[in-house]
C-alpha cells in the first residue's frame, strides 16, 4: 500500500521535504507503526517524531496512535499549533 506523508513547520524543515510517498509492505500499519518506521529511518527527523507533543492528522482529521491506516491515506505530522 502507498501512503502520502506530509510534514509541517519545524518537521517540514527537518524532513527537508513537504511530503513524500511511503510504500508499505505487509500488514497495514496504524499511525504509531508509521511514526515508528519514519522515526527509525531518519535520526534528525526522528527526534521530533518521537516527541511527546507530536500531532497527527489522517485525511485532515486529528488522529490517535491507534488510528488504522488504509491504502491512499494522507498522514500529516506536525508540532503543536501556534496560530492566532
Amino acid at each position: 500500500m502507498k501512503l502520502t506523508v506530509r510534514y509541517f513547520a519545524v518537521l517540514r524543515e527537518r524532513a527537508g521535504v513537504e511530503s513524500e510517498v511511503v510504500a508499505w509492505d505487509g500488514p497495514a500499519p496504524d499511525v504509531e507503526g508509521l511514526r515508528a518506521h519514519l522515526a527509525a529511518r531518519a535520526p534528525a527527523l526522528g527526534e521530533l517524531l518521537r516527541g511527546g507533543s507530536l500531532l497527527v492528522a489522517v485525511n485532515r482529521e486529528y488522529a490517535a496512535p491507534g488510528t488504522p491506516l488504509r491504502d491512499g491515506d494522507e498522514v500529516a505530522f506536525f508540532p503543536p499549533v501556534t496560530g492566532g
Binding site: 519545524v10 517540514r12 499549533v81 501556534t82 496560530g83 492566532g84
Partner: protein, 144 residues
Amino acid sequence: MEHGGGRVRVQREPFDVGAETALLTAGSRRIGGVALFVGLVRDFSQGRAVTKILFEHFPGMAEARLAELREAAIARFGLIDLVVVHRCGELAPGDQIVLIAAAAEHRAEAFAACSWCIDELKRTVPIWKKEHAPDGAVWLEAHP
C-alpha cells in the same frame, strides 16, 4: 473549496474590518451587537525583538477546522453569525494576523464567543508561526 459559506478563510491579503462587519450584519436585523477581536503582530515576543513572523498553515485542514470552530461557536453561544479570517505568509510588526467577528442579539454572547473562539483557534487550528529576530528565527512553542 469554500468553507463556512465564505465566513472562514485563510488568506495572504489583509482584511478590511469594516467590510467584514458589513458582510456579517447585512443578512439580519436581529443583530444587537458585533464583538471584534483583531490579532496583530508585535515587535517584541518572549524577550526578543521580532522583525517578521512567517505563518504556515495546513491548506484544507486549517479551513475545515475553522469551519467546525464557527459552527461550534454559533451553537454554543447562540450567535446569529460569525466570521473568522486568519492570514498566512510573512507578516511584519503592526500587521493584522486574525479577525474574529461575532454577531449576536446581545453583547454578552458576542464578547464570550470572541474570547472562546480565539482560545480554541490557538489550540486546534493547524497554523504555526516562525518568529524572525535579528539573531535568527525560531518556531514558536505552543503556549500551555
